[in-house]
Amino acid sequence: MRPSLSSVPQNLSPGGVLAGKPAKTGSMKGDRRRALFWSYFFLVLFAIFFLTPPIYMMITSLKSSAEIGAITNPWFVYAPTLENYTALLGSEQYLTFFKNSAIVSLVVVVITMLISIPAAFALARMKFWGSATLGMGIFLTYLIPETLLFIPLFKIFAWIQDMTGIEVMNHYWVLMFIYPTLTVPFCTWIMIGYFASVPKELDEAALIDGAGYLQMLTKIFIPVALPGIIAATIFAFTVSWADFLYPMAFTTSADQLVLPAGIVTILIRGDVYAWGQIMAACLLGALPPLLIYAFLMDYYIAGLTAGATKG
């Protein structure tokens, strides 16, 4: 199940044929050249629109507070400095946010995989009573937005705290239990698709060789459907890294915040906005997803498109 997006030569658009085949008539050739020109023109325009905020983030993060306050050209850095970055990396608070985010995201990825892989395997291969309904149900739960659930969840966890005396509110680890509700349904859903595409002959061969279900899963399904598992892992990680609503609702103390909530609530304080530092914090915080994206773009995109195309 490689992403089908990577360059497929026979799908070359009319514009791309320009260099190879001789065009039928002169006017047609001109048409294509014009189409190509306008495509580039608009692509550049939209690229500017899409990339302005991240680039502006970068520009601001390289400025000192004095330069920002002096209202010079906001789009240009006169005296580039790394002081915002060194200040952040030396700040215990920011490193705590980063550490909390990393712990939560990694644990959520592990939990998600432990729940999703067996479930997807069962739903893709074993036909049992209600398995089709359950598959549909998983998809439906993916459609329930977190904004509908945060208030009852807040109440439920407050009640658990009252009943058991365990301090669950205002601790970052409570997010480890909540984030899987965002990741598990979608990951299971796309992995059902990947597992279902594993040829039946493979598991028949394994059965003949005397493999149990567990061996079948670890020796055949996981290796064969690895691209799907990677895509699901990336999804789970990026979602738990980026979530903002649950940490805002469940954690308040400065040492328990994860990155998105931490930057928004702690770094922005009062009227004194240290914007250079805030932008540097955002950029550093966006770095893990961006790096994953840069190196695993095909898997990332496969995970994105799988949700709708696998249906």
């Binding site: 089908s4 906001p74 067996p118 395997f121 509908l148 932008m279 961006l290």
Partner: protein, 276 residues
């Protein structure tokens, strides 16, 4: 093997969803059953109807522009030579990859009242400066703009994948029949992409309707509560205002749109399942 999954979904998704219906029928201190008291209270407030209107405007206009931009840009990317497509696609998807809370802060800074980088450019070319987040109408425009910026790349990727799957022969046949580019889009591309368009639009409608991050960070619902949508208002009432039942009632209003969209998506999936 599906037990952990069912336990998780049952305890942390289905149960809370039902529980919120129960919560919505309690009074503020959650001791007394008030039936539809919270709802009738909401119906009497102008602010509630403003939030309903704003949520619909926000979701519908954002989704329409996301879909349009995604559709157009997908065509532009599809038009350029194949070896450049990867590069363009990689660049144009970046807004989707940055966690929204962080990119929204960058927009917030771009909109800043005294240091706005947009207003700086406007001043250079002789346009009046705009109070992006201070004026209700501009604030509404701004939150939609940021949402479109964040969501359009998703549509772009989906439509680009769909465009690639349209067989080239169909276009050749259309060309022989003398179709112009508009007819090719209308009679070939759109029918072939109908499924993917409907599913992405419905998906995005749900997500946009339930959006929280962007409005919360850009305006926190202000100025004077004019940009609140369901999620941010529910957060303000329920978590910050400590009136959990009222917040739950507000967030429950997201349910109808959700149910409608879910029915359509399910129908679509079932139909495709039957075709296969």
């Amino acid at each position: 093997m599906t037990l952990p999954l069912m336990a998780l979904i049952g305890a942390l998704v289905v149960y809370p969803a039902l529980y919120s219906i129960h919560l919505a029928t309690l009074n503020k201190s959650m001791e007394r059953f008030v039936g539809f008291g919270n709802f009738s209270f909401l119906f009497k407030r102008d602010l509630f109807w403003m939030v309903v209107k704003q949520s619909c405007i926000f979701a519908v206009s954002a989704v329409v522009f996301k879909a349009l931009i995604g559709f157009c840009v997908a065509h532009f990317v599809h038009n350029v030579p194949a070896k450049g497509q990867r590069k363009w696609r990689g660049m144009l998807l970046i807004p989707w990859v940055i966690p929204p809370a962080m990119s929204t802060l960058a927009w917030f800074w771009l909109f800043d009242p005294s240091y706005s980088a947009f207003n700086w450019i406007f001043a250079r070319i002789g346009l009046p400066s705009i109070t992006w987040l201070g004026d209700p109408d501009w604030a509404r425009f701004s939150v939609i703009l940021v949402n479109v910026w964040y969501g359009a790349p998703f549509f772009l990727i989906m439509y680009l994948a769909a465009l690639k799957s349209v067989p080239e022969q169909l276009y050749e046949a259309a060309e022989i029949d003398g179709a112009n580019w508009w007819q090719k889009i209308w009679y070939v591309t759109l029918p072939m992409m109908r499924n993917i368009i409907s599913i992405t639009v419905l998906f995005s409608l749900i997500v946009t309707f339930a959006n929280f991050d962007i409005v919360r960070i850009l305006t926190s619902g202000g100025p004077i509560d004019q940009t609140h949508i369901f999620a941010t208002w529910a957060f303000k009432l329920g978590i910050e205002g400590n009136d959990i039942p009222l917040g739950a009632s507000v967030s429950l209003f997201m349910f109808p749109i959700l149910a409608i969209a879910a029915v359509f998506i399910l129908r679509d999936i079932n139909r495709r399942g039957n075709e296969a």
